[in-house]
């Protein structure tokens, strides 16, 4: 998969290609002044697809899952070419909502949809998609939800001295430029949005006639038909690059509902020792191959609580990229637990992929609970019930208490490799001046590299020097995101909190150098010069 970068530049550009360019506007800062390089032939060719953005870790193209909270937990979104598997809750109430949010996000962004189900007609599924919350109303919806759930206060009222009450409120920008949207679960999507979208449906009872003779085959006939259908759509509409004359590339979002249930003809839910236990795993393997070679992302909901053979669940988890389990409290003893009285269930993030990366973007929070409010589906963290938590994330130890410690220790090991890569790629930079103290001489570099665990360093790197002129404004690591597209090299490493804690300060400052930072009054000018 090619790592593509989005060219969502702000309004500061000369405006030549902005109007037709992507709608994904990553930056919220705007540059003043002329750009350093020409607009048309700067750097590598940048592809822009609506509704996608590159990951800040590895440049992987991401799409939103439809829930911004879930995007954040997954490290920015769902990478294109991967499979998101949702293990359904017992009564199948909340997993269809995630499924529908994913499809609704596709409609709002203009992606092509492929909906496959053995239970419901895809046209009916599309009619029931939640409506997107538009900008002006969304803030009101949030507040309304908050107020509705406030417990009745006693007569002791608190008056708050709010310093900023006179400042004008921030207006949220137009909805089409955002990456993830919020959806109102109580309203249906407007009919014109569905009609304007391009979708394909696969309803199993229509595609398979009931009197068909079942030939002995390793895949059940339902799965074979579905794979053929997906392959046809991908090749006909050019998602795998086979139609080069299409100028506007788009993403295909595939949604498969209730995979593995008996309605698909698969009997892994019915018996423990099935005759054809590899049907589902072969299907996932072939599906993954189709996805990796095309611009598509897939969501699958699976009733894993019905699967009798646990080995199949383990294999299915390995064959998927992201696995999320939903556990609702209905009917279980946790419903009466006062700890969980505000929530409807727990979310378990069972697996996060490592795509073109040495480590995965594991979030620090392991206890997540969800709540379906009247309109919104929210995910909250911090429900402490350590006895029941079993993080199964890769690279984590068994007890949750020491999970972060282990992550820190293993993190350093990875960072040594990453720093090495970074320094070799970017060249070796000295920074002298203005409160900036970095690797100024050879021996301090050696000591610094030793402290990072690098024992060998090739000496053919040519040092270059960068100066900082006067600088009054503080720039954080996050602002590097905003202007990243300006930089010639898109391989910038942004560190997370955990990584910062492990590194020495001098290394950390090195990451700030490589950007043309935006002009905010006092400007920061970088000059590079070659020194020997």
């Amino acid at each position: 998969m090619a790592a593509v970068a989005s060219c969502g530049s702000g309004a500061g550009s000369t405006g030549s290609a902005v109007a037709t360019a992507s709608k994904s506007n990553v930056t919220s800062f705007q540059k003043r002044g002329p750009r350093a390089s020409g607009t048309n032939d700067s750097g590598p060719r940048l592809v822009s697809i609506a509704g996608t953005r590159p990951s800040v870790r590895n440049g992987q193209l991401l799409v939103s899952t439809g829930l911004p909270a879930l995007d954040q937990l997954l490290g920015g979104g769902l990478a294109i070419g991967t499979v998101l598997l949702i293990e359904e809750d017992k009564y199948n109430i909340y997993s269809p909502l995630l499924f529908k949010c994913f499809l609704a996000e596709g409609i709002v962004n203009g992606h092509t949809l492929l909906v496959a189900s053995a239970k419901e007609d895809p046209a009916n599924i599309l009619q029931e998609l939640p409506a997107p919350l538009l900008d002006d109303n969304s803030k009101k919806e949030f507040d309304e939800d908050v107020y509705n759930h406030k417990t009745p206060e006693s007569n002791i009222k608190m008056k708050i001295a709010w310093r900023y009450q006179l400042l004008p409120k921030m207006e949220i920008g137009p909805v089409s430029s955002r990456f993830g949207h919020y959806y109102d679960a109580s309203k249906r999507i407007p009919q014109e949005l569905i009609e304007a979208s391009n979708w394909h449906g696969f309803f199993l009872p229509e595609k398979i006639s009931s009197t068909l003779k079942v030939e002995p085959c390793s895949l059940t006939p339902g799965y074979i038909k579905l794979l053929q259908f997906i392959q046809n759509i991908i090749s006909e509409e050019g998602f795998d690059g086979s139609n080069p004359q299409k100028k506007q590339r788009n993403v295909l979002r595939i949604g498969i509902q209730n995979l593995g249930s008996p309605l698909w003809g698969d009997d892994i839910c019915c018996a423990e020792n099935v005759s054809n236990s590899h049907s589902l795993t072969k299907f996932l393997y072939v599906l993954r191959g189709l996805l990796r070679t095309s611009l598509s992302a897939c969501i699958i909901t699976m009733p894993t609580h019905l699967i009798q053979n646990k080995a199949i669940i383990a294999r299915v988890t390995n064959l998927s990229d992201i696995v999320i389990g939903l556990e609702s409290f209905i009917g279980s003893e946790r419903e009466t637990n006062p700890l969980y009285k505000d929530y409807h269930g727990l979310i378990h993030i069972r697996q996060i992929p490592r795509l073109n990366n040495l480590i995965c973007d594991e979030s620090d929070v392991k206890d997540l609970a969800f709540k379906l409010k009247r309109k919104l589906f929210t995910i909250e963290a911090g429900v402490h019930d350590l006895g029941s938590l079993q993080p199964r994330l890769p690279g984590s130890s068994n007890s949750p208490a020491s999970a972060s410690l282990v992550a820190g220790i293993t993190g350093v090991h990875h960072h040594a490799q990453l720093i090495f890569v970074f320094l070799v790629e970017m060249g070796f930079h000295h920074v002298g001046q203005a409160g900036f103290e970095l690797l100024t001489s050879g021996d301090s570099f050696a000591s610094a590299s030793q402290s990072a665990g690098i024992t060998r360093m090739s000496h053919h790197l040519r040092p270059r020097a960068l100066y900082f002129k006067e600088n009054k404004s503080k720039v954080g690591a996050r602002q590097l995101l905003e202007t990243r597209e300006e930089h010639l090299s898109s391989r910038l490493l942004i560190l997370t909190q955990a990584e910062r804690l492990c590194m020495g300060r001098r290394f950390f400052t090195a990451f700030h150098i490589f950007n043309e930072l935006p002009c905010k009054g006092d400007c920061i000018c970088l000059q590079t010069c070659q020194t020997q």
């Binding site: 955002r178 990456f179 309605l263 003809g265 423990e272």
Partner: protein
């Protein structure tokens, strides 16, 4: 709620066991829907037709359409009246009928069907039958279909039972205590929380349903003598309550950032020389509005 089981449509699963049998409840529900004027089809696989019709009076017997698979399940006698395709073929034939009106199909035993047919085929057929009329906005002339299936849950493992209960709209589990039968009804409406309810009942000899209150619950012995609740606000070294005067004084206190209205207007009016500007801010996920930025220690 036991009366209105059939009004919801879909698959109704009656799970019984050796101690609490369900065929009488099945016959009671069949009788009730026959009296309501619905078409009733019975797929009799486990007991003979005479035994099933026993206890019904003649007008109900005339309304029942009985498909007999008990006498000759494998169609060895090759008579013309044998239905092609076995029980599933009969089910599909009932689906394809053209006359409107609600239909109730009673499967005398889903257990028998599970033992003779592959589970996936049965699930697909049941789904096709029970969801035939669920097309929103479509004024189809075909009425609502209810499928009543009797399942002996002790005969099957958790797999088939789980698969069938995930398909079912309503699940009735029979139990009881001290000679009185109860039905635990779990109703799964699509996209809503499932509701459950326990109903005590008994079946009269003419197969009509008699809803009852539960057996008398013996009184729980008192666990502890009544302990007066302890008020934690007594014996404190500080004062938690406010007197009236103190409350008034607190209410009349002016907080630091509360401005009088003139000052507010003065602040909000745009100063000369300052162009009115709007802030369009798009907070993206990486934006941290936290004041405790860890980058603060850098002297950039």
């Amino acid at each position: 709620m036991l009366d209105s089981l059939l009004s919801l449509g879909g698959l109704v699963l009656l799970r019984d066991s050796v101690e609490w049998e369900g065929r009488s409840l099945l016959k009671a529900l069949v009788k009730k829907s026959a009296l309501c004027g619905e078409q009733v089809h019975i797929l009799g696989c486990e007991v003979s037709e005479e035994e099933f019709r026993e206890g019904f009076d003649s007008d109900i017997n005339n309304r029942l359409v009985y498909h007999d698979f008990f006498r000759d399940p494998l169609n060895w006698s090759k008579t013309e009246e044998a239905l092609p395709g076995g029980p599933l073929g009969a089910l599909r034939a009932i689906c394809k009928r053209t006359d409107p009106g609600p239909v109730t199909i009673a499967l005398d035993s889903l257990s028998w069907l599970l033992l003779h047919l592959p589970c996936t085929t049965l699930c697909q057929a049941l789904h096709a039958v029970s969801h035939q009329d669920s097309c929103p906005g479509d004024s189809s002339p075909v009425g609502k279909v209810s499928v009543l299936g009797l399942l002996h849950e002790e005969l099957h493992g958790p797999g088939p039972v789980g698969a069938l209960s995930s398909l079912a709209q309503t699940e009735v589990t029979l139990g009881g205590r001290k000679g009185q039968a109860s039905a635990h009804i779990l109703c799964r409406r699509p996209r809503q929380r499932p509701t459950d309810q326990t109903q005590w009942f008994s079946i009269l000899p003419d197969f009509s349903l008699d809803l009852q209150e539960g057996p008398s619950v013996e009184s729980q012995p008192c666990s502890d003598p009544h302990i007066p609740p302890v008020d934690p606000t007594t014996h404190l070294t500080f004062n938690l309550h406010l007197s009236k005067k103190e409350r008034e004084a607190r209410d009349s206190l002016i907080l630091p950032f509360q401005f009088s209205s003139e000052k507010q207007q003065a602040l909000l009016r745009p100063r000369p020389g300052q162009a009115t500007s709007h802030i369009f801010y798009e907070p993206d996920a990486y934006d941290d509005l936290d004041q405790e930025d860890p980058d603060d220690d850098l002297d950039i």
